[in-house]
């Protein structure tokens, strides 16, 4: 359910009226322009012992539409436990013990501070501990202003540099794709610092990036117009038998480094990617198709995690992407429960290998 409340109280009153079943928990997707004082809302909900969790995203999705203002309310069944992992700005991350029983199906719905520096490390540590005993789905929360502030919430507060892992006992069917194609490469990220590419091919990263974009588009990318052009030219990290893993440069630093959403290990071989409207929309449709292919009954919840930069790239055609996802899913299930967010990075355990932090991708999760 989408709501654009005039203030915290209005949202609170709506949540009070929305009665939860015994095994249900509110999942709240806040857009960064929601008119809600989140710490106040947490107090109000705690006073009434209403279970909830959520995060603040650049925009939110409800039933085939995306909104840059307001809040999307969803009810999730069978939430077993909620865990906060703090200190994502540190190099040592401790993953807590999740209360899981072997043989049962679980989904770890994960909202992470998308501007934290060690997201890949966090995902790697979590995968190291739980492997494929859990399916993972989620995305990066935060503001499109790229100013880091608290962005994940549950009954124990509102946090930044943190991840919220919600363990749900359910079978989840996932699909993840991006549709970005190789433009130039290989390039080597010869010097990196976590999520900052400092050098490409032993030259300042920005100057190499500028040259590549100039060659392709004739446009001169500068610090001032960086995001408006860079949203169409992400990097790809190679992965055999799979789409490459995208890294989205969102800004430059004072040393001509390219700040990405998600880490880029030093000496990674990169391709410069380029998007076409048709390939991106086709990829989104494919993600929906993959996720519905194994479903055996109606989905209780459909969670769509779509990268905010796809909206910025596709602009008015983004509604087309949402429409094809909806129509593809409707071939197998009702889509009234389709909710989600436009995120700063996406999380999904679809496929093989490490649990990766994706960028510029579409993740569709069907919770049975």
């Amino acid at each position: 359910m989408y709501i654009y409340p005039i203030n915290t109280q209005e949202l609170y009153q709506v949540l009070l009226k929305e009665e939860l079943l015994e095994n249900e928990t509110f999942c709240l997707y806040f857009s960064e322009k929601s008119n809600v004082e989140i710490t106040e809302l947490i107090t109000l909900l705690n006073d009434n012992e209403i279970p909830f969790f959520g995060a603040v995203f650049p925009a939110v999705i409800d039933n085939g539409k995306h909104y840059e203002e307001g809040v999307v309310i969803s009810k999730i069944k069978n939430v077993i436990s909620t865990h906060l992992i703090q200190g994502l700005d540190q190099n040592e991350i401790t993953i807590p013990e999740f209360d899981i029983t072997p043989g049962k199906n679980y989904c770890a719905l994960t909202f992470v501070d998308g501007l934290a520096p060690n997201i890949s490390l966090f995902l790697s540590e979590m995968y190291d501990k739980y492997g494929k005993s859990i399916s993972y789905l989620g995305g990066g929360a935060g503001s499109l202003s790229f100013i880091q502030k608290p962005c994940v919430l549950f009954n124990q507060g509102f946090h930044q540099n943190a991840a919220l892992v919600v363990i749900i006992e359910t079978q989840v069917h996932l699909g993840v794709t991006h549709g970005w194609q190789k433009l130039k490469g290989p390039l080597v990220a010869t010097k990196t610092n976590k999520n900052v590419i400092e050098e490409i091919n032993w030259e300042p990263a920005l100057s190499v990036y500028q040259k590549c974009i100039l060659e392709d588009s004739g446009k001169v990318i500068t610090r001032d117009n960086f995001f408006s052009i860079a949203k169409g030219y992400p990097f790809g990290m190679h992965k055999e038998y799979s789409e490459c893993i995208v890294r989205d440069p969102i800004a430059t630093d004072e040393n001509s480094g390219l700040i990405c959403v998600g880490e880029v290990p030093e000496n990674t071989v990169l391709d410069l990617l380029k998007g076409e409207r048709s390939s991106l929309i086709e990829a989104a449709k494919n993600a929906a198709k993959i996720s519905r292919s194994a479903i055996t009954s109606q989905a209780n919840n459909i969670i769509l995690i779509d990268c905010i930069s796809r909206t910025l790239f596709l602009e008015e055609y983004f509604e087309e992407e949402l429409a094809v996802i909806g129509s593809e899913l409707r071939k197998s299930t009702k889509t009234e429960s389709l909710t989600g967010a436009l995120t700063l990075g996406e999380i999904s355990s679809y496929g093989n290998g490490n649990l990766e932090f994706f960028n510029k991708s579409t993740v569709v999760g069907l919770l049975e």
Binding site: K132, E240, N267, V269, G351, G353
Partner: protein, 400 residues
């Protein structure tokens, strides 16, 4: 791809970090979902290979692999293997959980272990050419692991050494402080003891002047006071001597010493002190030869040993045998007295040690530890041979 893999090797001398960097890069780029490194164990009593790192850890429950495992045998024949689930050996290689179908890729890490990867989705098995290419990279990885293991061992040894050095310094400091304390206390005791003694003497003189010789009680008391003061002075002297001997920078003043003359001097003093008619017998074997040593230190040691020989033997005469050998001179101090039991022999040179059976004989328990220290300062050795209730021989051996 090979370039990226090679550059992910050796980025740290920490074993885990080094393995992690390579393994995760390999798994991400090559799309393998499980990776594990097993290293050879040094001790034969342990299983042949031990898991040192796995990713994800939860997928690798097998922590040890024996030398007879099929995988180990296959690696002996071939350092790089790609086995798919359609092949007969696939099941025998499973040491991970959740493996149904897919491909194992295993490489021998020179002589130190092996690395194993598993993928459930790879469409094509690693070709022979790919294995050969990859083996070049794996060889470099193996060298880097060996370097990490060496680094770990050196760090361990350095830390152990450092700990021992710190403990030694602390022990020396404590010893120094204890010695200083004992010396200071001993000095402080001397003055009041001297005053007590002089007052006891004064009391005797006053009694004499007052013509009170008939009073036999008071002289008995003053004699007891003087006797106990003598014991305390002896203890203080021994403590001070021990304190001096414990100092690190004690000066050894070596000079030419005629050992027989030194013994004769000691014997003269013994004759003056010894009131029961017993004497010290000195026997010499070999030709008299001077030694270069500190006469005060050696004199101190001999005095202690000879005085003990008289103290702990009743009727017989103690004996010193001087034996001139080629490179050393031996001084054997013998008595036929109470002797030492094996446990007493073990503790005899420890400061303040006194056997239960000599508690009624005056002494501080410091003499032998002082004697040992004196001999060692003169680059000599001291040993004891004894039979309980029969005899004891202390042998000092000094270089010329």
């Amino acid at each position: 791809m090979l370039y990226e893999l090679v550059l992910s090797i050796g980025r740290s001398l920490d074993l885990s970090e080094n393995i992690n960097s390579f393994m995760k890069t390999f798994m991400t780029r090559k799309n393998y979902e499980v990776g594990a490194v097993y290293l050879k164990q040094k001790r034969k009593s342990q299983p042949a290979y031990k898991l040192v790192l796995a990713h994800p850890e939860v997928r690798v429950p097998t922590k040890n692999i024996g030398a007879n495992h099929k995988l180990v045998q296959m690696l002996e024949e071939n350092p790089g293997l790609a086995i798919s689930s359609t092949e007969e050996n696939f099941d025998a290689l499973i040491t991970e959980s959740g493996v149904i179908e897919g491909e194992f890729l295993v490489f021998r890490l020179k002589e130190i272990g092996f690395i194993k990867f598993y993928s459930s989705v790879r469409k094509n098995k690693f070709s022979k050419l790919e294995i050969n290419q990859m083996y070049t990279v794996i060889d470099i990885f193996a060298v880097s692991i060996a370097a990490c293991l060496d680094h770990k061992r050196l760090l361990f040894e350095a830390r152990k050494r450092e700990k021992a050095e710190i403990a030694l310094i602390a022990e020396k400091k404590l010893h120094q402080e204890r010695t200083s304390f004992v010396s200071a206390v001993s000095h402080q005791f001397r003055t009041p003891l001297a005053i007590i003694q002089s007052n006891a003497d004064l009391l005797n003189m006053v009694l004499a002047k007052m013509n009170m010789h008939d009073n036999i009680q008071i002289p008995k008391i003053t004699t007891r006071i003087n006797s106990e003061i003598d014991k305390m002075v002896e203890l203080m002297n021994d403590l001070l001597e021990t304190g001096k001997m414990s100092q690190e920078d004690i000066e050894v003043k070596k000079q030419d010493v005629n050992i027989e003359s030194l013994l004769n001097d000691i014997n003269r003093n013994v004759k003056m002190i010894q009131k029961d008619g017993r004497f010290l017998a000195i026997n010499v074997q070999g030709k008299n030869k001077n030694i270069t040593t500190d006469p005060l230190l050696i004199g101190n040691a001999l005095n202690n040993l000879i005085s003990n020989a008289f103290k702990y033997s009743n009727d017989s005469n103690p004996r010193v045998d001087v034996i001139y050998l080629n490179a050393t001179v031996q001084l054997q101090i013998k008595d036929e007295g109470i002797g030492l039991s094996p446990s007493e022999k073990k503790n005899i040179f420890k400061p303040f040690y006194r056997s239960d059976k000599v508690q009624n004989v005056p002494g501080t328990g410091l003499g032998l530890s002082i004697a040992k220290r004196c001999v060692e300062l003169c680059s000599g050795t001291i040993q004891v041979e004894s039979t309980a209730n029969e005899s004891t021989t202390f042998t000092i051996e000094l270089p010329y």
